[in-house]
């Protein structure tokens, strides 16, 4: 893993962690401990979106590859 790739992963981890951290701060401020279904939907949708993006990129790269004669 190159330093750039490792840094990119670290930054992605920090950014995503911060999102959840802010959500938990809101939970604490509202005196709640459990996430609502709507909050879970947002978390799961973000994960689905990231997966869909990776899948689409894989398919695009495969399609762009020149086919063997």
């Amino acid at each position: 893993m190159s330093v750039t790739a490792a840094l990119e992963l670290l930054l992605a981890l920090l950014a995503r962690t911060q999102e959840i951290s802010m959500l938990i701060a809101r939970l604490n401020a509202e005196g709640r401990t459990q996430l609502t279904d709507a909050e879970w939907t947002v978390i799961v949708a973000a994960d689905d979106l990231a997966r869909a993006r990776l899948q689409a990129l894989i398919e695009a790269k495969k399609a762009a590859k020149p086919s063997a004669p």
Partner: protein
């Protein structure tokens, strides 16, 4: 390359902004505000500033010229240049981060974020107070790995075959995360905790895989 004063370094200036923002959060200045919503908003803003400044520092370090700031750095840079022109069997890294070490740190960081978020309070991350919140952190780690793999594939630093392998492992991890969530919803805490541990283990293997495949 000539030495520059520290305040002319983009990286150091950005890191200073991040440090000051984080120090303000730690000192609890925002908690003095009478309105709880205002406290949250100020804290969130400061944390966003800290993250953006850190990301900018990393970008600047990777993409801009990096002249030395101290005499020691100048000496190390000269040594590194000599080493590059005359490589030895056991080269001295001369202060440059070893990519493999960073990979190992990340392999440890992924499960730490997922399971040990409670230990992150000193760095401004809200600790997970229960299983539900631990699971939310685990989902966010999973999303971060997918984001990074997509970015690496887009940049051409990850092959299509490796991206497919990452996706397959990430899917395994996601099944375990979903199953942990279902078990927790049904009140089966033991099963839920076991599934979460397995999911983070797969994420850890995923980072190790990327490390071993030498993503560049």
């Amino acid at each position: 390359m000539d030495k520059i004063p520290w305040y002319q370094s983009t990286t150091l200036r950005a890191l200073l902004v991040a440090l000051v923002s984080q120090l303000i959060v730690w000192t609890g200045v925002a908690e003095q505000l009478p309105d709880g919503a205002a406290t949250l908003a100020v804290d969130a803003l400061l944390q966003v500033v800290a993250i953006a400044a850190t990301a900018y520092a990393a970008w600047a370090r990777a993409n801009r010229a990096n002249p030395p700031i101290t005499e020691r750095a100048m000496k190390r840079q000269a040594e590194a240049m000599v080493e590059q022109s005359h490589p030895t069997a056991n080269p001295n890294q001369s202060g440059f981060v070893r990519a493999s070490m960073l990979g190992i740190l990340l392999a440890l960081a992924v499960p730490s974020v997922a399971l040990l978020a409670g230990a992150c309070a000193p760095i401004g991350v809200q600790p997970a107070k229960n299983f539900d919140q631990q699971l939310a952190y685990a989902y966010s780690s999973h999303t971060a790995v997918l984001d990074s793999a997509a970015n690496a594939l887009e940049a051409g630093s990850l092959t299509v075959e490796d991206a497919e392998a990452v996706l397959a492992m990430a899917d395994q991890s996601r099944v375990l995360l979903d199953s942990a969530r279902l078990a927790a919803g049904a009140g089966d805490v033991t099963t839920a905790e076991g599934r979460l541990a397995l999911a983070t283990n797969v994420l850890q293997q995923l980072v190790a895989y990327l490390n071993a495949r030498g993503v560049k």
